[in-house]
């Protein structure tokens, strides 16, 4: 469903990713690990086509990075939920409107929006703060708003860039459980993380990046041997 064919991303100065060949199947759960600066965020950006490979090809659903037109990108992004490392909340509207926005974009009816936003807010445990502005939230709360926004669209894949970086261990476990539940509902999950505790807790296929290359792919059975 998502395929990388020998992908490389280069800037004038250096190579950010190279020789990336990777397949994420429907409904799969994949961890992306690697040192800081290894290229995890860069790889995720290729999937939601915020960045294009300088070499190779990325295929997401029925779109290919080499042939997608500019006006098709929004429609791709509606099928890919993204949780950003730096939250990227709209600072000019409250929590409810931030999440509702992802539905307004696709022209949902107001009533439908309301019920879906409230349901997803309950999922992430922020129902009581739905009228807060983002700046009044703690780091962990912002993170959960971001997750709620990514989920509300019912994407076929959820990309989560260190969704637990700002959360305490309990909350992290809560988020992981949430992601697993979503995954069990058929949504694929690709999560970049530094939190190996979580991987130990819920082992899945894990891709290890190093210096812009895929160093290793570890299947869930082999994981305990690694950590």
């Amino acid at each position: 469903m998502i395929e990388f064919f020998n992908v490389a991303v280069e800037t004038q100065k250096r190579i950010l990713l190279e020789q990336i060949t990777l397949k994420i199947h429907k409904g799969e759960f994949v961890y992306l690990i690697g040192k800081t600066g290894a290229g995890k965020t860069t790889l995720l950006r290729l999937i939601y086509m915020d960045l294009f490979p300088t070499q190779g090809n990325v295929i997401v659903d029925r779109y290919s990075s080499s042939s997608i037109k500019n006006n098709q990108i929004p429609f791709l992004r509606r099928k890919v939920g993204v949780v950003f490392q730096d939250f990227k909340l709209l600072s000019d509207r409250n929590v409810y409107d931030n999440i509702a926005f992802a539905l307004q974009v696709i022209g949902q009816k107001k009533k439908e929006i309301r019920s879906r936003v409230l349901s997803v807010l309950t999922q992430v445990g922020l129902n009581h703060k739905r009228y807060h502005m983002p700046e009044l939230l703690s780091g962990g709360e912002k993170q959960r708003v971001g997750i709620a926004r990514a989920l509300v669209n019912e994407p076929f894949i959820l990309l989560a860039d260190e969704p637990t970086g700002n959360l305490d261990p309990d909350a992290s476990r809560g988020i992981l459980e949430l992601l697993e539940k979503i995954n069990q509902g058929g949504t694929a999950v690709c999560m970049a993380t530094h939190n190996y505790d979580l991987i130990r807790l819920a082992p899945h296929r894990t891709v290890l990046l190093e210096n812009g290359r895929i160093k290793k792919e570890i299947s869930p059975e082999n994981l305990p041997k690694i950590f």
């Binding site: 990108i73 992004r77 993204v82 990227k88 000019d92 926005f101 974009v105 022209g107």
Partner: protein, 283 residues
């Protein structure tokens, strides 16, 4: 459906980015007020000139030997000119009386004879009281037999003609620059209000908003800013107009279409400005 959403988002956007909105609206307001002041100045200048031209008279002195019949004929001939509205006959006696009034001297007593010729005082029609017509009519009158001399307020007409061209040129240049400059300033303001929210556009893109969808609220916001700025400028202009009438110049004219024009211009500038500006942040 969508229109309503955009409109609502546009209104909400004004509230969300209050500072930007206030600044943009004041910019619109003052810019349009300036244009309004200029328009009022222009129509008043035009009115003044036309009023002056309406008062222009041509005086034609008649040959001394004309019979009353010939004079009558001539008057009818002149009356038939399309440019001329009224022809008044001034007899030699009337001319003498007027001369005496002006120069305070009894010419006839000194000279034994009235040296002054009879004349027609000619008033041009409303549409024709402009220098070019005055000169044309004067030239044609000069060619009529029985007419000795054609006099008109040459000095003032020449004065106006000489400086009118200059005035209209300078006025026109200023008006063009005014419009360009106001447009640039208002567009800059809109551009900056959108620039201050560039990260919001970025995020909208990331959650899958189409370019159309992103533009919508910004454009409606721009239109609303223009509309509100336009309405405020109408108030402001009305107050200025009223104040000037009251304290400075009671005859200051005003046309209602200026008010409508300002609001329309505000909406137009808001529409185009926000459309162009938001486009810069979409590929």
């Amino acid at each position: 459906m969508r229109i309503f959403f955009f409109l609502k988002e546009g209104i909400v956007g004004l509230k969300r980015a209050r500072l930007s909105a206030i600044i943009a609206i004041t910019s619109f307001c003052v810019a349009l007020t300036l244009i309004g002041i200029f328009s009022v100045a222009a129509i008043n200048l035009k009115d003044t000139l036309f009023q002056f031209y309406r008062e222009i008279e041509i005086e034609t002195f008649l040959d001394p030997g004309l019979t009353p019949n010939q004079i009558n004929n001539l008057q009818q001939q002149i009356q038939a000119f399309p440019e001329i509205s009224r022809v008044i006959y001034v007899s030699r006696e009337q001319a003498l009386q007027e001369f005496q009034k002006v120069f305070g001297e009894n010419l006839q007593a000194v000279l034994k004879e009235n040296p002054l010729p009879a004349s027609f005082r000619i008033v041009l029609g409303a549409g024709y009281s402009q220098p070019q017509y005055v000169e044309k009519v004067a030239a044609r009158l000069n060619q009529l037999t029985g007419i000795q001399e054609v006099l008109y307020q040459k000095e003032i007409i020449q004065f106006l003609q000489k400086y009118l061209k200059l005035g209209i040129s300078i006025g026109g240049i200023i008006a063009i620059f005014l419009l360009i400059i106001i447009t640039v300033l208002v567009f800059n303001t809109i551009r900056l209000t959108i620039h201050a929210r560039r990260n919001i556009i970025q995020i909208m893109k990331l959650v899958g908003a189409t370019n159309q969808f992103i533009k919508g609220p910004f454009i409606y916001e721009g239109i609303l800013q223009g509309l509100i700025g336009g309405i405020l400028s109408v108030f402001l202009l009305w107050i200025i107009h009223y104040t000037v009438r009251y304290f400075v110049f009671a005859e200051l004219a005003m046309e209602n279409y200026i008010f409508g024009g300002l609001i329309a211009l505000g909406i137009l500038l808001g529409l185009i400005g926000s459309y162009l500006s938001v486009n810069k942040y979409l590929d």
